[in-house]
């Protein structure tokens, strides 16, 4: 990371100054008050670095929002005080999974691996935020507004998701599970067959 280099450089200069420029070492203070040319070069380097970062970030943003080639699996996520509800509009019979988020009663969001999954995120009351730390991603859930994002999980597993936007009393236990299963198992589960998922 660039950050670590910058931090290391400043620390090294600071250490040098502390070791070599202490008053006890009989140094005399410089009378020079500026070095405009050096500073100009330095600003040039900074600007170039900033330009690089801007370009890189814009590229990453682009990638983040690239729409998938295949039609995504759609899940409607609704948040409320203080739990989550996941509906699957593509299921033969509309399916909704919810819970109370008390104790072990956490709802599970089931998604197929290898498929883009489009989450349509909204809230029934205040602002919440869906965060899956494992996926390094979060998105706010607003009332009277739908936020959409697409994610693809590559391997099977189960991870915990949380609410990241403060929403009062039981904000801290507003968790859910996200479970990635193979596409076949997902289809079975969507048909409502036993033995699959949750």
């Amino acid at each position: 990371m660039k950050q670590r280099h910058i931090f290391g450089d400043v620390l090294a200069l600071l250490g040098y100054a502390l070791l070599r420029r202490r008053a006890g070492r009989q140094v005399t203070a410089s009378e020079r008050s500026e070095r405009p040319r050096l500073e100009a070069y330095y600003v040039g380097v900074l600007v170039a670095f900033a330009a690089f970062l801007v370009a890189w970030t814009a590229w990453q943003n682009q990638r983040e929002h690239e729409s998938a080639a295949r039609p995504p699996v759609r899940v409607d996520v609704s948040s409320f005080l203080w739990c989550w509800a996941f509906s699957y509009p593509q299921a033969p019979e509309r399916r909704t999974v919810s819970g109370s988020c008390r104790g072990d009663d956490l709802p599970t969001l089931v998604v197929p691996t290898g498929h883009p999954v489009q989450l349509r995120l909204t809230s029934r009351d205040v602002i919440h935020s869906l965060w899956v730390p494992h996926l390094r991603y979060k998105m706010d859930a607003f009332p009277h507004h739908v936020n959409t994002f697409t994610l693809t999980l590559d391997r099977e597993g189960r991870w915990m998701g949380k609410c990241a936007e403060f929403c009062g009393q039981r904000h801290r236990t507003m968790h859910f599970w996200i479970k990635a299963v193979s596409p076949e198992e997902y289809d079975k589960w969507l048909q409502g067959q036993q033995g699959a998922a949750v």
Binding site: Q3, A29, S30, S33, E39, Y42, T57, Y137, K138, A164
Partner: protein, 554 residues
């Protein structure tokens, strides 16, 4: 204050004798008294808000603890955050400006002194109103310092506490706007713009931001107040997201208002204790102005996760900030590299500021980058980042400034040994408290949770952080003892008297007596010729050259 002999009465314009005691303090139009009142009030609040933070660290030290209820915990972080930002760091910065800027530019007082005093009253009243929330039946406001609707509306946050919070923040912010306006209007004689000391420049820039951005907070609070009267307003997304835009239009510049004056105090300390002129003055002044201008265009980077901000634009402007920030670091590091360093307490704080603030700044670039921000926003990573900026950065600048200007303000020296002890306790406490929070956030601990389950594995990092907080408490105790003891000794007359210029200062405030007289400069202590942004240094160099020339003469 010295009592003026009757012959000098004409100097104060033959006005009636001002009241003495506390009434004299709260009605004085002396900018030094208003400045001290503001700084003193915010310091008392600082201790109070710090105590709230210690309670939170105690609650989080172990998983599944129930030291405080979750409702009380929500009040604690709300008042801690609101208090530190609205009532401590912003007013303290402006208080320093009210005290120092007239002295630094050789003026006898502040422009519009009565208005400045009114600003202080608004601020003090606002603080009292906000804290009064604890005395209401449903207790204080509990929705965080940014209080987004609809969470903060009257349906989801019932009770008078929230109303008092709105009123309190409104009053305190009005007070700071008024103070900012008066500091800005302070014009000088004989001092050109490029001879203003770095600290005075930082105040000008801060006040520009106060005037430009703080009214947006008043608008946001007004919106919230209307919405509390009629909660159906927040059934429209535009008001919810609109509030966030207004809030962060204020919320980003305020960070720099809480940063520039302390950064500039650090710059003055670095130059004085390096025994040389501040390096790259013009670049620094220019970078402050660029910073202020950019600060008003980056607010959306607090809102990436809302899905309703233009990511590319806001990440562009946020990344551009690294250019002026880099220029400031160039100047600070350049100053010490060519200096002759004396490691007195103010210098220790200034030196620690450099790497510690850098951690805050570099992680700031990270959270300003949407791809990283999507993961870490609203997590403990942000808590760590903002505390590195405000505590490891600004607070170190603040304490450096207190040690630096204490002799000037009080006329006595602040104990050096306790100062050093306090410094090391604070460095240790700061880093042990806030460094683990980066890891916690990255591992998935959200902000504003009153407890966490033991299986999540956050236990030992939180414990470490709480142990660090104990060191912070110890450091603050040592500081309080040091200050109170020194002031007590001053009353008894046994404290070490401070000379006019104990550190070999560069700027005009060191040319007058310690503490400065009512009108700052007297015939005994005239304003020296202003030849650059470091007039006293010029004077000393000239004297040195003259004595050298005298000696070379046969």
């Amino acid at each position: 204050m010295t009592v003026a002999p009757p012959t000098e009465k004409s100097d104060i314009g033959g006005r009636p004798v001002p009241p003495s005691g506390w009434l004299g303090w709260v009605t004085s139009t002396d900018h030094k008294r208003i400045g001290l009142l503001t700084a003193g009030t915010s310091f008392v609040l600082f201790v109070g808000m710090g105590t709230l933070a210690l309670t939170m660290r105690a609650q989080l030290a172990q998983p599944e603890q129930e030291l405080v209820s979750s409702h009380l915990y929500n009040q604690l972080f709300t008042i801690h955050g609101s208090g530190m930002i609205y009532l401590v760091f912003t007013p303290f910065a402006l208080g320093m400006g009210v005290y120092l800027v007239p002295l630094q530019i050789g003026a006898p007082g502040i422009a519009m002194a009565r208005l400045t005093l009114l600003g202080y009253w608004f601020y003090a009243l606002g603080a009292a109103v906000m804290l009064a929330g604890f005395a209401t039946p449903l207790r204080a406001h509990a929705d965080g310092w940014f209080s987004y609707p609809p969470m903060a509306d009257s349906v989801h946050s019932p009770g008078t506490g929230t109303d008092l919070w709105i009123a309190g923040v409104f009053l305190a912010t009005t007070g700071t706007i008024i103070m900012g306006w008066t500091v800005l209007r302070k014009r000088t004689y004989g001092m050109t713009m490029l001879r203003l000391p770095v600290f005075s420049w930082s105040m000008i820039v801060s006040c520009l931001m106060v005037i430009g951005a703080f009214p947006a907070l008043l608008a946001a609070l007004g919106l919230l107040a209307v919405g509390r009267a009629d909660p159906s307003m927040f059934d429209q997304n535009v008001w919810n997201i609109g509030y966030q835009h207004l809030f962060w239009f204020y919320g980003h510049p305020v960070v720099y208002v809480m940063f520039f004056p302390y950064l500039a105090a650090v710059a003055e300390v670095l130059a004085v204790f390096s025994g040389r002129r501040f390096f790259g003055y013009k670049g620094t002044v220019l970078s402050l102005l660029v910073f202020a201008a950019l600060s008003m265009s980056v607010w959306g980077h607090h809102m990436f996760a809302t899905g309703q901000a233009t990511n590319d634009y806001y990440s562009l402007t946020s990344i551009a900030l690294l250019v002026p920030a880099g220029v400031e670091y160039f100047a600070m590091v350049g100053t010490i590299l060519g200096g002759r360093l004396r490691l007195a307490p103010p210098m220790l704080f200034a030196l620690a500021f450099i790497p510690q603030f850098l951690i805050g700044g570099l992680t700031g670039i990270m959270v300003g980058t949407p791809v990283i921000d999507y993961h870490v926003t609203d997590s403990y990573f942000v808590v760590a980042h903002l505390h590195y900026v405000l505590f490891a950065g600004s607070a170190f600048g603040l304490f450096g400034a207190v040690y630096f200007w204490f002799p000037k303000v009080t006329g006595v020296m602040l104990g050096h040994r306790l100062g050093r002890l306090r410094f090391w306790l604070l460095v240790l406490g700061t880093n042990v408290t806030f460094l683990p929070m980066f890891a916690l956030g990255y591992l998935g601990m959200p902000r504003r949770i009153s407890s966490y389950a033991s299986f999540e594995g956050f236990g030992w990092l939180n414990l470490l952080s709480s142990i660090g907080a104990a060191f912070l408490a110890a450091a603050m105790t040592v500081f309080a003892v040091n200050v109170l003891w020194t002031l007590r000794k001053r009353t008894l007359g046994s404290a070490e008297k401070a000379p006019d210029d104990p550190w070999g200062g560069h700027t005009l405030e060191w040319a007058t007596s310690s503490p400065p007289p009512r009108l700052n400069f007297t015939p005994d202590h005239p304003v020296p010729p202003v030849t650059s942004f470091a007039p006293l240094l010029d004077l000393r160099q000239k004297q040195k050259e003259e004595t050298a020339a005298d000696r070379s003469r046969p």
